[in-house]
């Protein structure tokens, strides 16, 4: 939701400080999720600047952490995908009467293979993420327990069969989501 438009905007425009933004995005790709979790924890904890929102140990906190983890990945890969489209094509699209927005949308559509890769990579990253969601979600049964944190808990409790079963479910979910994305990509080709 945030990564694609930002990545597209950075990839399609030239502005002062663009190199710095690119550097930040690339660096963000390597952000350790557990550090993101720690920072979000501190921001949302009672003494933190957003403590009054009471989001800590709620799904909202987990969404915030995962968005921060996925954002640079999606934005940087979208930017690369957009930059991979022949720049001359943009001029040719404009010469056919496209507005700036239509040109941007057309180039984004041309970059859809790279875009799908960005979304798949980010999805794979967050679905398998455990450190941040554990920290900010608290692994509360029925509320903030997700597959990865449930696997950690089951393993700690020695319930290896359950942990393995949950692991297979996680894998199947990832497989299903990626297959759906690839199918979508194929349909637009």
């Amino acid at each position: 939701m945030f990564g694609v438009p930002v990545g597209a905007a950075v990839g399609l425009t030239r502005f002062p400080g663009r190199r710095l933004v690119t550097l930040v995005l690339y660096t963000g790709m390597g952000l350790p999720p557990v550090v993101v979790g720690l920072v979000v924890y501190m921001l949302l904890s009672r003494g933190g600047p957003f403590g009054s929102m009471n989001w800590l140990f709620t799904p909202s906190a987990m969404v915030v952490a995962q968005t921060i983890i996925a954002f640079p990945l999606v934005a940087a890969l979208t930017m690369s995908a957009v930059e991979g489209v022949d720049p001359e094509l943009r001029l040719q699209v404009r010469a056919l009467g496209a507005t700036r927005w239509q040109t941007g949308w057309t180039i984004l559509r041309e970059a859809r293979i790279g875009l799908t890769a960005a979304i798949v990579a980010a999805f794979g990253g967050i679905i398998s993420e455990v450190g941040a969601v554990m920290l900010v979600g608290g692994n509360i049964e029925g509320q903030t327990r997700v597959l990865t944190t449930a696997i950690v808990l089951s393993t700690r409790q020695g319930e290896f069969a359950l942990a393995m079963a949950l692991g297979i479910v996680l894998l199947l979910l990832a497989l299903g989501a990626n297959a759906a994305l690839l199918q979508l990509q194929g349909r637009t080709r």
Binding site: E88, L91, Q92, A95, L96, G97, Q102, T106, R109
Partner: protein, 242 residues
């Protein structure tokens, strides 16, 4: 210039530079409405740069481009930009069908009908490829699709950059017939070509551009039959001019 309606394009003291290098220097040039203006010259003469400037894709470093007597602003307003289109020397296809490529200019103008693609493709001998992915076409086919794509929007001004390069004689004839149709509809055409024969067949006036500078310009018949400049004679004779 005699009094009358303002020309489609008028260039006044236009200079264009890439870095320190001046690639175009045209003190004065005008192209009346409905005229086909041929631009010939060797590679690197600045022909394609001139087309980009006329399309409004980049402003000249110095000087003014007047369209219908009024300076062309930058960024070019959409209404003005949509009156002009270019068939580029290396046309690029969108990753969609040939038909969708041809209809692209209409789609961005909000037109949803598919009908205009058929006759255009048929005239260029491409109707059997309408549903084919455009990027699977040969270079010659892509060149013709690019022409159909430009003509679909019925531009007032058509800028053609080597529209028949790499085409076999039958397809050159098709493309030239297509261009003549546009001429008969009153389209203003700027035709950049290496092919002096093509300029001779299609252009009302012709200009020789060498190293960004105008060497000679005049009515096509006079330009080819009695050029006044030694460099024009040398260029037309196929001799190396620099």
């Amino acid at each position: 210039m005699s009094a009358g309606p303002p020309p489609a394009f008028e260039l006044v003291d236009v200079r264009h530079r890439y870095g320190a290098r001046t690639v175009l220097s045209i003190p004065r040039l005008w192209i009346p409405h409905g005229e086909t203006f041929g631009i010939v010259g060797p590679s690197g003469a600045g022909k394609s740069t001139l087309l980009r400037i006329l399309q409004g894709l980049e402003p000249p470093s110095e000087g003014a481009i007047l369209v219908d007597g009024a300076p062309m602003p930058h960024p070019v307003p959409l209404a003005l930009a949509r009156r002009i289109t270019t068939v580029f020397q290396r046309p690029l296809m969108l990753d969609r069908s040939v038909r969708d490529n041809v209809l692209f200019g209409l789609r961005v103008r909000g037109r949803k009908d598919r009908a205009p693609a058929g006759p255009l493709l048929e005239r260029l001998g491409l109707d059997h490829l309408a549903s084919t992915r455009a990027r699977q076409l040969s270079g010659g086919e892509i060149q013709r699709v690019a022409l159909a794509r430009a003509m679909a929007i019925e531009p007032e001004v058509l800028l053609l950059d080597e529209p028949a390069a790499n085409l076999d004689p039958a397809n050159v004839a098709r493309v030239e017939a297509f261009i003549r149709d546009a001429q008969s509809r009153g389209t203003t055409i700027v035709l950049v070509t290496h092919n002096t024969h093509e300029a001779r067949r299609l252009a009302h006036r012709t200009l020789l551009l060498i190293e960004g500078a105008v060497v000679e310009t005049g009515p096509t018949a006079a330009f080819f039959e009695s050029p006044t400049e030694p460099r024009t004679r040398a260029f037309l004779a196929g001799e190396l001019v620099y």
